[in-house]
């Protein structure tokens, strides 16, 4: 077996996953704190104001990374849900359902910060244009996944139902991304794409650092949530008993 396949197989084992993620989490939180501190300092203090929007353009350093994360987490949740559905890997199911509240949080932050940004620039907190509406639908999809999971008593069945909803909701991601190209919207087009960026480098760097910081936040938060869910589900299993005895001894 090659090392990557071996690693994937090991990750599927609950005790091994618990140990491994436990060692990883402090590093992930640490990297998040350092990167977020750098990104916020560079973005809110060092970066220049925008030529047109002035200081209010700084909301970008919160809004854009959150919006990116809201979509990336949804895609990852659907992928892990797919793995859970096809191979019945319990860790994948747990990772999928543990992603939903974090994704919902980022979506809510993206919507709220966008709304606060819209008021001083566009002149309104909210409009029903395609970009804003499809992002709101994403929030409802996350809430739907969480709600559907909670509606079942049996966690494996719950995870399967929630994963299926997550997969079906995947169609919303291209709609969010292309909404600004397919339709006339109040929201402007993408600044960063395959052809490069239309954000000046002095403003782009803090943005990219913040984008990286949010990824570590997601990883740390996801693994912490997954560990709790895992020992909750396995509380009567031997490996958890041994773990608890080790802790008290």
């Amino acid at each position: 077996m090659n090392p990557i396949m071996k690693f994937i197989h090991l990750m599927g084992s609950p005790p091994w996953f618990y140990q491994f993620s436990g060692r990883l989490i402090p590093w992930l939180w640490g990297l998040f704190v350092v990167l977020a501190a750098c990104g916020l300092y560079l973005g809110l203090v060092k970066a220049p104001p925008d030529y047109l929007q002035g200081e209010s353009a700084r909301i970008m350093y919160i809004h854009v990374p959150s919006a990116w994360m809201s979509m990336m987490i949804y895609a990852l949740m659907a992928v892990m849900g797919f793995v859970g559905l096809v191979w019945h890997v319990r860790i994948a199911e747990i990772l999928a359902i543990s992603s939903a509240p974090i994704g919902a949080l980022f979506t809510a932050v993206a919507l709220a910060s966008g709304s606060l940004w819209g008021r001083p620039t566009w002149g309104t907190y909210w409009v029903w244009d395609a970009r804003l509406t499809s992002e709101l639908v994403l929030l409802f999809l996350y809430l739907g996944v969480i709600g559907l999971y909670s509606a079942f008593d049996e966690p494996r069945k719950a995870a399967r139902a929630a994963s299926l909803l997550a997969l079906v909701g995947l169609v919303n991601l291209p709609i969010i991304h292309y909404s600004v190209t397919w339709w006339n919207t109040l929201h402007q087009g993408s600044s960063i794409g395959a052809s490069g960026s239309s954000i000046h480098p002095s403003m782009l760097w803090p943005l990219l650092i913040m984008a990286l910081a949010t990824k570590f936040y997601y990883a740390a938060n996801l693994l912490s949530r997954a560990r709790i869910r895992l020992i909750e589900q396995d509380q009567r299993k031997n490996w958890v008993r041994e773990l608890l005895q080790e802790g008290t001894a």
Binding site: P48, L52, Q53, G123, L167, N184, L186, S198, I199, M203
Partner: protein, 152 residues
Amino acid sequence: MHPTRKRRMIGLLVILIGVGLASAVTIYSLRQNMLFFVSPSDIGEQDLPMGREFRLGGLVEPGSVRRAANGLAVRFTVTDGVAAVTVDYDGILPDLFREGQGVIARGQLQTRELFVAREVLAKHDENYMPPEVAEALEEKGMHNKSGQGADG
């Protein structure tokens, strides 16, 4: 791959393709209704009815903004480079409103050439840069200082 897993995978892929196709068809058939605003040339082409509310989007024609001596009333021309419509508005304009800027006005047509707005929103484009860079670009004539983009 194990036959059961293969069956599950094919089932899921069929669901995904089905949902994808269904939404693609829905979006395609709704494409006219999903437009947030129409352009001045659409008004002529589509023969939009008078006295019905819709949103008009375009650039504020430079030099066209006339403010009333007292009060908030303002009149300006919205253009998309092909056609132009005069807009009357009595209210507070967003901070980003300026000549050459993209705007979206909600209101109704009074005559074929006069649009009375109830709300005016500013649209900005995807370019972000420090003021000095914008000035330097403008000196070289490469950049329109007030961000455009209502035709995006």
